[in-house]
């Protein structure tokens, strides 16, 4: 493979890892704290992307500016969903919550297809194709911006979780729910808050993705799967773990896209299975979130 392809591949992988970190981090906190696999994660991501699309298409709102809007909207939605639906059965066996979030995903995607039709759409602001080049390697502005923003949001999350009272409450709930309850943490609301954060981050990722790639109602599933793989690769325990996992995964994805384009997903999934078999706690992680 020529050097150009290699270098461009490396650059693409790095840029991609930022967005994927954002995709995975929301998923990771829900899994780590609530111990549920949120199969609707991708669907929320998709809705975030569409919010950006409609704001852009109907009102000309710059996609980056729509980020807070999509995140806030989905935060509220996520809060409601967790508080009034998932909380009802959250301590039930795996099958129940798995199927529940699966059903949510089905409903959201179906409604999206119904209202917005299944066609692919693109958010194409004027600066979409622009970028700069280092040598022959192209670095589109939007992807760079997405990378930076993702890392900023991830950093903010870390700060929130570590240095604020609410953040600590969330982590405590994840570590030992009874102790947390005894300390006065209100569990239903904390759970709802955690899920809402996860949803909001997913929506943010959706917004950023919509600027670089076409979107359609079924786009979410692939991202949920990627979030899985990243969390397993990097371990469920920590934010740096997720970043590492995302980086590793991005490389796998970009390079398998070059060598075997039609098997891209299969390769990623097989990596997942191998990691699960040989090192289920992931490359860097622990089994719970802290």
């Amino acid at each position: 493979m020529e050097t150009l392809q290699l270098t461009q591949g490396v650059v693409n992988a790095i840029l991609l890892s930022g967005t994927l970190t954002l995709v995975a981090i929301g998923f990771s906190i829900v899994w780590g704290i609530l111990n549920i696999i949120n199969l609707a994660h991708g669907a929320f991501l998709m809705v975030g992307a569409y919010i950006t699309y409609w704001l852009f298409t109907l009102y000309g709102v710059d996609p980056f500016l729509s980020l807070p809007i999509s995140m806030l909207t989905m935060f509220v939605v996520g809060y409601m969903v967790q508080r009034y639906l998932i909380n009802l059965v959250i301590r039930a066996p795996l099958l129940v919550t798995f199927l529940l979030t699966f059903a949510l995903e089905i409903i959201i995607i179906n409604l999206a297809t119904f209202f917005w039709k299944g066609d692919l759409r693109s958010v194409t602001p004027d600066y979409a194709g622009l970028g700069f080049t280092i040598g022959d390697v192209q670095i589109p502005y939007v992807r760079l911006a997405a990378f930076v923003i993702s890392l900023v949001l991830t950093g903010l999350l870390h700060v929130f979780m570590t240095y604020t009272k609410t953040g600590n409450a969330i982590r405590a709930t994840g570590m030992d729910i009874d102790a947390a309850r005894l300390q006065g943490v209100r569990i239903p609301q904390t759970y709802a808050l955690t899920y809402a954060l996860g949803t909001a981050l997913a929506a943010g990722a959706g917004t950023l993705i919509s600027i670089s790639f076409p979107i359609d109602p079924t786009m979410g599933g692939a991202y949920t799967l990627r979030a899985f793989v990243i969390c397993v690769l990097g371990g469920l325990g920590s934010i740096p773990g997720v970043i590492l996992g995302a980086l590793l995964f991005s490389f796998i994805e970009v390079f398998s896209g070059i060598w075997a384009p039609s098997l891209k997903d299969a390769i990623a999934l097989l990596v997942l299975v191998l990691v699960l078999i040989f090192r289920p706690s992931g490359i860097a992680g622990k089994a719970f979130y802290h």
């Binding site: 392809q5 039709k117 790639f213 076409p214 997903d265």
Partner: protein, 463 residues
């Protein structure tokens, strides 16, 4: 109830079965009473539901909605004469789901034909005119559903003839059923040749099959510049696209071109830059793509990004849609796309529509937009039936089947003629081009073209 003795006698195994079946019953007789009562109710309900649904669907005037989701349409116009003869065409069409948009075009095409023919009293059969009715069910873009509904159409609704669904997968499923019951099916929307390589006698397709899709573009390019040498083909990993690509490759080689690149990308891929880069390194004269609208747009976008500028850019699907131009703006200029049919073709026929322009007029009047080719080919399927019925002089399924096999007719859609496998290899593919003035014009076949083919594709860096 003294069933024990008889049950025990049946077999030891049955006894053990019973014992295990009832294992979820607690031992107390009171609760077991409860249990058997509930179970009894459940079973009876199941049986009754099954019977009721079976009975309902036997009715000749069907209830509004039955087993599956349906959107039934029965179109009737008051017949001219007082004759009581009817031809019922049945179809399972994708009105919802993945192919909903295309399915709608198909339905529109069918309905437009039925409306027009019934204005004349119906299809001529012998010396009568038989009113035409349509029975359409929604198969939800699902192959299982399609198959079920076609069974229903044949065995319960007892339609006279079948029309095809949308999409190769669904068509696969339904042609087998048509063959089983020996009911002719003329379909207009499944172009994969695999469907027709199975020796079925009762299935016919009016549309040009997949391997022929890109022939028009190749012919047109070579006609304009016989010195073209190399072709690169980029393919979406899908049944239809693969056939298109293979057909294009074979034809290109037949014409003396060198296929320098031939590779696939994943369905609904979001990034094909590595393929574009690879093609660029081969410097092809012609780049052909087989896929769907979105990947075609993607290929164009990334070709611009990476600077791939062949002399001709042609795609099987995409350039003829308004979304293509909308998504790419000026970048769509010069790109050509294959088309089964366009409203501008200069065909002339004595069928009920006469010319593509007249069909377009009628379609626009009824549906408010320019007819897409799916609508035209769907109407064409019915025209094929009409001409076959006229030739056979009867509605007998086998006679009409034979008449279809022998059909050779020029319709507003093009030539309708089927080879031994039931495919219409006789109708040429048209080509449309996105012009620099923002319009989309038919540029091939020459006799039917509205404007001339603009050549060559102006390289990206010269725009």
């Amino acid at each position: 109830m003294p069933v024990e003795s008889t049950e025990v006698e049946i077999s030891n195994g049955a006894y053990r079965a019973v014992v295990n079946v009832v294992s979820f019953i607690p031992t107390h007789s009171k609760r077991s009473k409860e249990m058997s009562k509930r179970l009894l109710i459940l079973i009876v309900v199941l049986l009754i539901t099954v019977m009721a649904l079976a009975a309902c669907s036997k009715a000749t005037t069907p209830a509004p909605a039955q087993e599956q989701t349906q959107e039934q349409t029965t179109e009737e116009k008051a017949p001219a004469g007082g004759e009581e003869c009817k031809v019922v065409f049945g179809a399972a069409v994708s009105l919802t789901g993945k192919y909903a948009k295309e399915g709608e075009y198909v339905k529109n095409g069918y309905e437009l034909y039925v409306e027009e023919i019934n204005k004349q009293g119906g299809i001529p059969v012998g010396d009568k005119r038989c009113k035409v009715e349509l029975k359409i069910y929604d198969d939800e873009s699902n192959a299982d559903r399609s198959a079920q509904l076609v069974e229903k159409l044949i065995t319960e609704d007892k339609v006279t003839f079948l029309l095809g669904p949308y999409g190769s997968g669904n068509t696969f499923a339904t042609t087998a059923i048509a063959e089983k019951y020996k009911v002719p099916m003329v379909e207009a929307n499944g172009a994969a040749t695999k469907i027709f390589n199975r020796g079925f006698k009762y299935s016919f397709a009016v549309l040009t099959p997949a391997p022929y899709y890109l022939r028009g573009i190749i012919d047109m390019a070579l006609d304009k510049d016989p010195n073209l040498k190399t072709v690169a083909i980029v393919i979406e990993n899908g049944a239809f696209a693969l056939e298109v690509a293979q057909g294009a490759k074979d034809y290109a080689e037949e014409k003396g071109l060198d296929v320098v690149y031939f590779d696939k990308y994943a369905k609904a891929a979001k990034d094909v830059s590595s393929l574009i880069t690879a093609m660029k390194s081969k410097n092809p004269d012609i780049v052909l793509g087989a896929g769907h609208l979105q990947d075609t747009i993607l290929v164009m976008k990334q070709s611009k990004d990476l600077g791939l500028s062949p002399k001709v850019f042609g795609f099987s699907v995409g350039p003829t849609s308004p979304e293509f131009r909308k998504a790419l703006g000026k970048d769509a200029d010069y790109v050509v796309g294959a088309a089964q049919w366009t409203p501008e073709l200069k065909y002339k026929s004595d069928d009920i529509f006469g010319t593509p322009q007249h069909f377009t007029e009628l379609y626009k009047a009824k549906y408010g937009e320019i007819p897409p080719y799916q609508a035209a080919e769907s109407a064409a399927a019915l025209i094929a039936y009409q001409k076959a019925i006229e030739a056979a002089g009867s509605l007998d399924k086998d006679k009409v089947r034979d008449a279809l096999a022998a059909l050779d007719y020029d319709s507003f859609y093009g030539k309708l003629k089927f080879n031994e496998q039931g495919m219409n290899v006789y109708k040429p593919m048209a080509v449309m081009q996105n012009y620099t003035d923002g319009g989309l014009y038919t540029v091939w076949p020459k006799e039917a073209a509205v404007k001339e083919f603009l050549y060559p594709f102006v390289p990206w860096d010269q725009r």
